[in-house]
Amino acid sequence: MTGQSGLVGEAAELFRQFQGGDRSRIEPMVRLLNPTLWHLARGCGLEQVDAEDVIQLAWLKLVGNAGAIRDPQAVLAWLGTTVRREAWRVAGERRKNDPAQEPEALAGAQDPAPGPETAVLAAESQSTLWNHISRLSPRCQAILRVVSRGGPPDYAALSESLGIPVGSIGPTRGRCLAALRSALSSDPSWSMP
């Protein structure tokens, strides 16, 4: 998936150098991993400002606990888990303060609703894909967004951040993908790139 093993390996190498004393390696790590962490946080239903805070906190925690992470290969999973757990906590707090916001809002990315800004969608195939994804249930949208970022499947953390039982994640992902595939296959404007 999207060269995840490359991402994990690259992050591991930078982190190994960081742990070895080259503190400057943190900058390329931040630039490398932030897009993935962003989609994770947003996929957990956080507003932009909260997503930024959560990501910042995860990095601060990583630097504070760098010595405790024995396997550099685990650094992306560690950051991802931290982001998801913290995102879940913040999303829960927000819901408590605003009971009107049902758990369904977990699909997130409601501000601004990544609406039909078709201008930003490079290809027609992308706008077709977007069209069908936005008709999936919010839960499917959230899970596909997070799972598409892959990383080592960490179903426990994913389950926690999405509010889906661990055992259901694989099947739910399968169902969401199947629903998307069937919608796409009946759309004449869709052709797999």
Binding site: W38, G64, R149, L180
Partner: protein, 149 residues
Amino acid sequence: MDALDAELLEGIAALYDAVDPPPSSLDGDVLFALSLEALDAEIATLTEEGMPALRSAETEATNTVTFTSSALQLMVRTSEEDDGSLRIDGWVTGGGIAVAVLAGTTALWSTSDAHGRLLWRAVARGPLRFLLRPADPGDRPIMTPVIEF
């Protein structure tokens, strides 16, 4: 998971990169937060707050705030510039101390004169904090909590 699923997931990842990309400021903000953390600064305490921090249109808002650390004390007083931005007058217990106003990721440095006086002009309103670099490089830097001005 077959090849088509994998391809589809790849397409989904690219799609979200297009519709909801990370803000361009994200990397800089994270790096700035990490660099502040790396300073291992002592956090000063807010010991005194004169005048409510709340602003209202009618009052000529002047806020005086005092921060105390183990070695230094910093008092700042804000007043309004003609354009609505802030003038910040500061006094710190000592001359030659570099003090920055941190607003977001920008740092506006000023160095105290022999009387400990500091001055910043035309500072945008918002959450601000101060970073003090003692004259002796062996001393720990000091950071204040964030205050909304």
